[in-house]
């Protein structure tokens, strides 16, 4: 329960039918979270401690979903249920890599998600290094016959993750491009900004239901080592082994819970995050903290003395990590949700997703129609004191899980987190609870609770206005 302090504020927040003004309540939610009066840290601690890694389709993911559903009920959420969907699960096996010429040295690698196993005896080949994916694409078909192709592109550290966006096609598209030129396997300098001896896994594009050739990420120091040896004019030969496998009849699931609205319960503000994780770490920052942030924000709203006018729905998606990089064929939790709830989507007011680690929110972005609205001004007043700016762009890519929902016409919002160090840890064994900073987590909860409350307690329509208004057609500011 929040302290019943009423702050005197100016401005023109949408007035709730009962209780104090919405802006006052939003500020109370913010302050409660900033003071640590939220469940976010205990949530991510319990989730990662009880279940460890939660790969899509695994027993661990399923057990975590059942535990989460029980927790959500115990926390007082309504309409808590699990929606299952079939997937082909990918299971990492034993894997290893060694330099075998010009000297014998162990290499730290991780198979890319979806990557097929090597032959049981492993495979060997000389390594052909390409500085970027573009260089690999310039190689002619047949030129890599019997070789192992390697893309050595570095990931630039950037607050908004632009370095990841620039480098990740090397992971998603590299295996196919290498196979098309005759390569027997693919190596990638990890898409990551650290220099630790850990490889960043991640999914690669399927062709005919599987990744084209065995594909592995190298840790940054191992990629450095191969490049240094090659720079001496020596041929680098590598042995690779992966015992990865596929489980065709697996399933994953979304967990759904609500704080039902008091006036228009059919209108939904969707707060998303994903419950599955990669298998090397325990999915603490990807995306345990996301599930903690949105759940804790909704729980603060749940515990108010009065409900919001609309429904706040938490959706904890399954099988996000193995979603395919391009539609169609992205049979994952976000797709399953959009299909299952197709009839409801016209009543989805707004959708957003927390999936960028645990560092602070520094910016918010709303649908273009709301960029200059009173709603935006109110939100800015509430969350500027905790270090959040209004973006000069409308919300665009708001996250993989809600993309199918947004593509179906639901307006999306973004609370952008500082990603400067996120890609040090992303998709590595290092994604563990000790990397979670409680104060940062609380700031996220504060921003999410404030935004979710203000949207749910308003009657604003975030959808594009009719053409006469023209706003929807206005390009985003540069």
């Amino acid at each position: 329960m929040l302290a019943p302090v009423l702050l005197c504020v100016g401005g023109s927040a949408a007035r709730a039918a009962s209780g104090p003004p919405a802006e006052v309540v939003a500020a109370q939610l913010r302050d409660a979270a900033m003071a640590g009066h939220d469940i976010a840290y205990s949530w991510v601690s319990e989730l990662t401690t009880h279940f460890g890694p939660r790969p899509a389709g695994s027993a661990s993911e399923q057990q975590a979903a059942a535990w989460v559903a029980a927790r959500l009920k115990a926390l007082g959420f309504e309409n808590v249920h699990i929606e299952s969907f079939p997937i082909t699960a990918w299971v990492r096996g034993t894997e290893s890599a060694q330099l075998i010429a010009p000297s014998t040295q162990p290499l730290v690698i991780a198979a890319l998600g979806g990557s097929p196993p090597t032959p049981a005896a492993g495979l060997e080949g000389d390594v052909v290094i390409f500085p970027t994916l573009r260089d690999l694409k310039a190689a002619v078909p047949g030129s890599l016959n019997g070789k192992i192709a390697m893309v050595a592109q570095r990931t630039v550290r950037a607050q908004d993750g632009a370095g990841y966006t620039a480098a990740v096609p090397g992971r998603t598209d590299g295996p196919t491009e290498a196979a098309q030129r005759g390569a027997i396997a693919y190596l990638l300098r990890s898409v990551g900004t650290d220099n630790h001896r850990q490889a960043h896994t991640g999914t690669a594009r399927y062709v005919d239901g599987r990744v084209a050739v065995p594909a592995f990420a190298l840790s940054a120091p191992d990629a450095d080592q191969i490049e240094r040896i090659a720079a001496l004019g020596q041929t680098v030969r590598v042995r690779l082994f992966s015992g990865a496998s596929y489980v065709r009849d697996a399933h994953s699931q979304n967990v759904i819970a609500e704080v039902r609205g008091r006036e228009r319960p059919q209108e939904v503000v969707l707060l998303g995050a994903h419950l599955d994780s990669w298998d090397q770490g325990t999915g603490a920052i990807d995306d345990g903290t996301g599930t903690a942030i949105v759940t804790a924000a909704a729980k603060l709203i749940r515990d108010l003395p009065h409900r919001p006018r609309r429904t706040v729905r938490v959706v904890l998606f399954g099988s996000e990590e193995v979603a395919q990089p391009t539609p169609p064929g992205h049979t994952f939790g976000g797709h399953s949700y959009a299909v299952n709830h197709q009839a409801e989507l016209a009543n989805h007011v707004l959708a957003g997703e927390s999936d960028f680690g645990t560092d602070r929110v520094y910016s918010f972005a709303l649908p273009r129609s709301a960029a200059e609205s009173e709603f935006a001004k109110t939100l800015l007043r509430v969350i500027t004191p905790i270090g959040v700016l209004a973006s000069d762009r409308a919300a665009e890519d708001v996250g993989a899980d809600v993309t199918p929902t947004v593509e179906a016409g639901v307006p999306g919002f973004a609370l952008s987190q500082d990603g400067t160090t996120y890609f040090d840890i992303h998709h590595t064994p290092d994604d563990t609870l000790d990397k979670v900073d409680r104060a940062q987590l609380d700031q996220n909860v504060a921003a999410w609770a404030a935004l979710a409350w203000l949207a749910a307690d308003s009657d604003i329509d975030f959808r594009p206005r009719p053409a006469s208004g023209g706003a929807a057609a206005t390009p985003a500011k540069p």
Copy 2:
């Protein structure tokens, strides 16, 4: 060749029989190193790139020693030779660990050096956690029958490595103490200050020629996870596997090279470091940089237009990492050297060792007899400008490799490096070239070259003075 700049300096440096005053030359050596005119970085880059890890007794260690000897000859050193000695080598095998109750989760571990293999099917046991080694020692014999003992002590971050010294008995003595109380295996929170998903290996004490039970270091996040689960009141059960093995007829070797003195070539200033490394990283900071620092310092002296009066001897030791924590039985490079050169030790003027990573030297310590000497004052004048203080203590523990030499009566010196971050990386897969900072490395070379030159070009006797002088009996300052 150094630039022939003569600096005007005051003070009373020992005067060389030819060339400029010794202090002037020491300053020139310092400045040359600080300007990067030394071979240290290329040395450690080539060593770690060509050979990767160099475990004691391995082909890689032997190949590295042969390469090093050839390089030393090519660099113009004299009396370059290799001195082999027999060892029983320990070889890490495949290894793995999993939580198997209350849930199934992978654990990141590394067998401790010398640790015996598990049975081929692995072993399982419930984990009994002790906060410190002292708590384990308080357990009664038989109380751990069939259990896996775990010591969870944390390593305190400290500039001088005091946190390591406090925690490392958990590694060296823990397996024996656990076995004496009936434990079937031993787990240790890594002796390290990082929170990465990497385990810090290191040697454990032998009893009857081997470590008592299979013993493993856990990464810090994995130790956290086990402690959190246990704190929920749940029994933690673990499965362990190690395929480690011993090679009884292996050998290791010391590589020796000299800059012969012009007046008293039989008098030796010994600069040591170790060429072997642990097997998980490439031994860049432990101790590739040590070998680089002492070799580069000696090479700067080698390239002077005039030799020092005494001989500067570089000894790159083998098999340091597997040296046993207590004598006797420490058949390693340092022991082999002291035995082989016993007849010469009376003419060893001074001995020191670089084996604490690559961070800056911040303090020097000399034998007690020289603490207030003109030599110490000269040295201070030369290296204070690069950030080095005079210690308020006499040199004591100057390093594992030279300990047998120092115990045989040779005066020791220390150039103490800042170890604040050393134990983030020490004995882990992360010990790779990218962790080496060139500017820090050059500062080390500067300090080593200045000290080695001043000692070798002097006629100071660092041995304790006769009792009448009394200095040798004076306790070190607190």
